[in-house]
């Protein structure tokens, strides 16, 4: 059975104000419930592509989310479909308490207080932060901050979640917890990462980007086990594919 395309990026170009081309002729389609990793060296354009998907930057070309074109007019609808988890949880958690942070999105969606409270409680339980609603973000560990940042997105129940370097600054235990959490999510996941072991452990599909272009796109194992390809773009084959 053919899965429906939930993300479509067609002939997309983007350049920074100084003229640097960040994305060149990007064509990408992601199917529903797929777990896609965007891999590539630093400055490859992974984070910029995530920003383009969520409508934070406007380039030349088309981005469709669940069939809806990403435009200024549709942005409110787009934001309920795609949740963006930034690379630094400190930026994601901007409210004084975890409860306020996790309830921020649902409240903006217009849900009533009772529903919001229910969502916050359920989401915190899901990410393993039960009973921490009243904590201030600066009282959490790095792993807990990452979980809380994910909870802020999950509480909005989006169809797609994008993650920018989600395993950044996590110790192995926190990274394993994060992997377990991500594997349990039913949403379409698009993860930008430089960590090949992390990417190999989570992805169905890998998209290799370098200098703003898609170099390879296919089954994660096929791409990430290709030593020559990986080395040519400053990457390494993860242990599990050696």
């Amino acid at each position: 059975m053919a899965m429906s395309k939930i993300i479509e990026v067609k002939d997309f170009f983007y350049h920074y104000s100084d003229g640097t081309e960040a994305l060149k002729n990007i064509n990408l389609a992601v199917e529903e419930a797929q777990r896609v990793v965007l891999i590539g060296p630093n400055g490859a354009g992974k984070s910029t592509l995530l920003l383009a998907m969520a409508g934070f930057i406007n380039g030349k070309g088309t981005v469709l989310i669940d069939g809806i074109k990403v435009t200024k007019k549709n942005i409110k609808r787009i934001r309920t479909l795609i949740g963006s988890c930034l690379d630094n949880p400190e930026d994601q958690l901007f409210m004084p308490t975890i409860f306020d942070d996790v309830s921020f999105g649902p409240l903006n969606m217009g849900l009533n207080g009772e529903e919001v409270r229910k969502r916050v409680e359920e989401t915190l339980k899901r990410v393993g932060l039960n009973g921490m609603a009243e904590k201030a973000p600066h009282h959490l560990s790095a792993g807990q901050k990452r979980s809380a940042a994910i909870a802020t997105i999950l509480s909005m129940a989006p169809k797609i979640i994008t993650f920018d370097e989600p395993d950044n600054s996590l110790d192995p235990r926190s990274r394993d917890n994060l992997l377990a959490l991500l594997k349990n999510l039913s949403q379409t996941l698009v993860i930008a990462t430089c960590s090949m072991d992390f990417a190999g452990a989570i992805a169905d599909r890998a998209v290799l980007l370098d200098r703003g272009q898609i170099i390879a796109d296919g089954k994660a194992e096929d791409i990430m086990s290709n030593n020559e390809l990986m080395k040519a773009h400053g990457l390494e084959v993860p242990g599990r594919f050696m």
Partner: protein, 258 residues
């Protein structure tokens, strides 16, 4: 990194911790106004005013050492003002403290009063922030009609001040790790300027990312929160006791000592 948070005792549990933040805010604002408005000639009434915050701190199990440390941290600003008073007003003045009467100058009197008022109002303020979670304070301020934008700004300051301090410390550490000799005042000043600039650029970057995080969650310029504050019977008791205490000091003790 570990920081000495101003509200580090706010997560304890005690009768004063359980009070509604709005009630505590109102009491502290009125109390502070009364102390500030106190005539400068009646120094001894300050001891009566100090009883209120002292009892509050004791009930809240806030260590007095912590309170006085906090007062000392902010005292340099007020010390400059207080200690300059004796220099510009040397007119003689009699001071009475109970049965004791002695002569001093109006400048010294002003100095004592400034220091006394500062200590008592700071005690009240620390009583408030040490027994109230900062978030509840913000919600309380919002409910009491403080402009929304100001409350949001306060929330962001509280949320990110520690992060900025951390970054500043990292920059300073990186600098001291490579500071092998004194480069002279002008060169050091230039380096300090670069460090401040770097901190500013990083802060702007953080602000942009926060903006993205807010927009990603549907922020449209309207700040929506769920209030979890509730006024209960003991809030009314606290309000009544505080009002009676302040009225006794203001209407009975103050005229008696004047």
């Amino acid at each position: 990194m570990h920081h000495a948070h101003i509200d580090k005792f706010a997560y304890q549990d005690s009768p004063v911790h359980r009070l509604d933040s709005r009630v505590k805010l109102i009491v502290v604002v009125v109390f502070t106004a009364l102390v500030i408005a106190m005539p400068k000639t009646v120094l001894s009434v300050l001891f009566c005013y100090a009883v209120g915050p002292f009892v509050w701190l004791v009930i809240g199990r806030i260590p007095l050492k912590f309170v006085f440390k906090q007062i000392l941290v902010v005292s340099p600003f007020i010390l400059v003002l207080a200690l300059s008073s004796p220099f510009y007003d040397r007119s003689p003045m009699n001071v009475a403290f109970g049965p004791f009467v002695w002569q001093t100058t109006a400048g010294w009197m002003r100095c004592y009063v400034i220091l006394g008022k500062f200590t008592v109002t700071m005690m009240a303020l620390i009583s408030l922030v040490s027994t109230t979670r900062f978030n509840d304070l913000l919600v309380g301020l919002q409910k009491l009609g403080v402009p929304h934008l100001l409350v949001i700004q306060l929330g962001f300051i509280y949320r990110y001040i520690f992060l900025v301090i951390d970054r500043a410390q990292h920059i300073l550490r990186a600098r001291s790790g490579r500071r092998l000799r004194n480069l002279g005042f002008s060169r050091e000043l230039k380096i300090a300027g670069s460090m401040v600039g770097s901190l500013l650029v990083r802060s702007i970057n953080t602000a942009e990312n926060i903006n993205i995080a807010m927009q990603a969650r549907g922020f449209d310029g309207h700040w929506r929160t769920i209030s979890r504050l509730r006024i209960r019977w003991y809030d009314f008791v606290f309000l009544a006791v505080s009002a009676i205490y302040m009225m006794i000091v203001y209407f009975i003790v103050l005229p008696f000592l004047r």
